[in-house]
Amino acid sequence: MAKENKPPAEETQIEEIKINRREFLNIAWLASLGFLTLSLGGVTYLFSIPRFKEGEFGGIVNVGTVSDVPRDEAPPENNPKVKFWLSSTEEGALALYTVCTHLGCLYGWRDQEDKFVCPCHGSQFHKDGQYIQGPAPRSLDRFAIRTVDPDTGNVLTESTDGSPLQLPEDPEAVIQVDTSQRIKGDPHA
């Protein structure tokens, strides 16, 4: 009960107390230690975060030139090492993440049925990754994809939101997939 009476008295005291030399120094050292710890924390973060080389999953992958892309009717092309299917539709090219959005199995292409089917729980997807049926909660995930001029390295066309990529006229243009940027597929109703 005595406690409850005390705090107000102390509160008013705090406002009166001015900072003394010792408190200033203690705060200064604590702040320096905090600053050092934060900086070293930042160093630790930058040190520990993985860096991906070009051509490795997690980094930017050169798939080939525009002329290599499987055209409209051709089946999608699997790139298992860098984990995407390069699929081409009437709207353009897509890089679909090889992992099913349900529980992480690897789905396959059924040429006769013209769709992707997951062997684990039977989720099915269109050639452009759109959900058809099955337990999967959303359409297939896609990677950002772009085409660059082989000589200058300038970006010709680019898709960062998962929409199909318009392929440029130049058959020599290089197609690059950024496997660090995965765009989640649209959830179905």
Partner: protein, 525 residues
């Protein structure tokens, strides 16, 4: 009016809620109390909440509630034990981080260090930090032991603490040494080869110890893995275990020793009373430890970023070639010095064993009950002699001592060492103009008139070469020296620099020739 009252009420409620949270985290210290701690004010509540922390909080329960005022005098301890522990903690943290990129296999170890130094953000910084922290830990462990010896703090109830300290010194040295091999460069490989060979000299079981350490007759994949496991698992666990005992003895049993003068009646009783006054851990010692921690970290970071300390890396380990200047780590120079004095088993095993036994036995050999330096002349003189012996032996362990290498080889090795940079490789590529430069004939000034800005670095290098040759000639090591330096264009972007030194011994002509290839894109300039 009612509104303002409400706001005040809310303020109070929030204040109390925050205060309660803070009390839970800080094991009983409220906001007001924390401020008082920072200010060095007496406790604001009764009973003193600063004592309760020592029973309820894990971190503080291993710390003592108070120290005796006399034991906190800076010159009594120099905080050496504290810093040793701090460096051990820094080593543990940086070590775990370095393990992210390290692979303990001969094929990958060296590459992982190269990757760390050139490709990983702050990789070199963390490696430097780990290396510098290790050096500091060895130095502070040693200084801590010296301090304990000279203040006589190993006596009576502290004798067991001394024993654990000697074990910690050994484990620290071994920790540092086992880390030596991991970069898998020439220095690592050969320093550890020499180190483990010393075990071979043991009359009983030396060969077995060697096999256990190396996992094979010579160091290879097995040896690297074994040293790695020792370095990252076994030895750190040993340190944590023994350090816990060591610290528990200090914190809970006998405390940090008072300076001898307070125990042996050299000062008036009033001062003794003053020295035995209790200083509470919170606030005084706690805030001072924050200060020392910050200072220690700051010095380490500044030594690397501003001071330019860098952990070295030589060329990849080559079991077929021993580089010319192979040395043990500096804290084993004394042992290397002893090995130059005599037989390998006597100097490498028997005498070190005796030294270790003597160190362990110090509290039992020294029966003098006094602690003051003036009252233990024998112990102090022996201590000083031991330190001098250590320094002299370490000096004898240096390369320049006692190893006979002929003057010509020495000069060339110093100017263009097999490992490292040296004066020649520091000369910019453009300044190496093809030609034959004869020592004492070619003028050391204006050596390359065809270059707009001349070649000051090359001239400095050639002057140094001339000086070394003349010095050796004056000392009688090279008689009738005929010395040239030849620079040739060897391939595109590649130059060949040849040292050719001729001299006569007993009327017989001798020559030493050594060539170095220097590429335009090499990294050291």
């Amino acid at each position: 009016m009612i509104k303002t009252l409400n706001i005040q009420d809310m303020r109070k409620k929030i204040g109390t809620a925050v205060d309660n949270r803070v009390r839970i985290i800080s094991a009983g210290l409220g906001l007001t109390e924390l401020r008082a701690v920072m200010r060095g004010d007496p406790p604001t509540e009764k009973p003193n909440p600063r004592y309760k922390v020592h029973t309820t909080s894990f971190i503080f329960h291993i710390r003592p509630r108070y120290y005796q005022a006399g034991s906190t005098i800076l010159t009594n301890t120099f905080r050496l034990g504290f810093f040793t522990t701090l460096f051990f903690i820094i080593e543990s943290i940086t070590g775990v981080l370095l393990m992210i990129y390290y692979t303990p296999s001969p094929e990958k170890a060296y590459l992982s260090i190269l990757n760390l130094m050139s490709n990983v953000p702050f990789g070199q910084f963390l490696r430097d930090m780990h290396r510098l922290g290790a050096e500091a830990m060895v130095i502070f462990t040693f200084l801590h032991m010296l301090r304990t010896f000279f203040t006589g703090s190993y006596k009576k109830e502290r004798s067991f603490t001394w024993l654990t300290g000697v074990i910690l010194l050994g484990v620290t040295l071994f920790l540092s040494f086992s880390g030596y091999l991991l970069p898998w460069d020439q220095l690592a490989y050969w320093a550890v080869t020499i180190g483990t060979s010393m075990a071979e000299a043991a009359p009983v079981g030396g060969n077995e110890i060697n096999l256990l350490l190396r996992g094979a007759p010579d160091i290879g994949a097995n040896g690297l893995l074994r040293f790695y496991l020792l370095h990252v698992v076994a030895l750190p666990f040993a340190v944590i275990g023994v350090l816990s005992i060591h610290y528990y003895k200090v914190a809970r049993e006998h405390g940090i020793s008072l300076p001898a003068r307070f125990e042996e009646g050299d000062v008036p009783p009033s001062e003794v009373k003053e020295a035995k006054k209790r200083i509470d851990f919170i606030p005084d010692l706690f805030t001072s430890e924050i200060f020392w921690t910050t200072l220690g970290l700051l010095i380490l970071v500044l030594a690397i970023t501003v001071g330019g300390y860098h952990a070295g890396l030589e060329t990849i380990a080559n079991p077929q070639v021993t580089p010319l200047d192979t040395t043990a780590p500096w804290y084993f120079w004394w042992l290397q010095g002893m090995l130059k004095l005599g037989d390998k088993s006597l100097m490498g095993i028997v005498i070190p064993t005796i030294i270790v036994l003597l160190l362990i036995g110090v509290p039992y050999i020294d029966r003098n009950k006094y602690r003051s330096m003036w009252r233990r002349p024998w112990a102090v003189s022996i201590g000083i002699l031991a330190v001098i012996a250590l320094v002299v032996l370490s000096y004898m362990g240096l390369l320049s001592f006692g190893i006979e290498s002929d003057a010509a080889t020495r000069i060339v090795q110093d100017l263009a060492p097999e490992e490292g940079v040296g004066a020649l490789r520091e000369v910019p590529y453009d300044q190496l103009q093809p030609g034959v430069y004869v020592v004492n004939e070619t003028a050391t000034k204006n050596m390359c008139p065809q270059l707009d800005f001349g070649c000051p670095e090359f001239e400095a290098f050639f002057t140094e070469y001339t000086r070394r040759i003349n010095e050796a000639e004056a000392a009688g090591d090279l008689t009738n020296a005929e010395t040239v330096l030849v620079v040739e264009n060897w391939q595109q972007d590649l130059k060949k620099v040849t040292f050719r030194i001729g001299w006569t011994v007993d009327g017989e002509n001798k020559t030493y020739e050594h060539s170095i290839f220097i590429h335009a894109d090499r990294i050291n300039e």
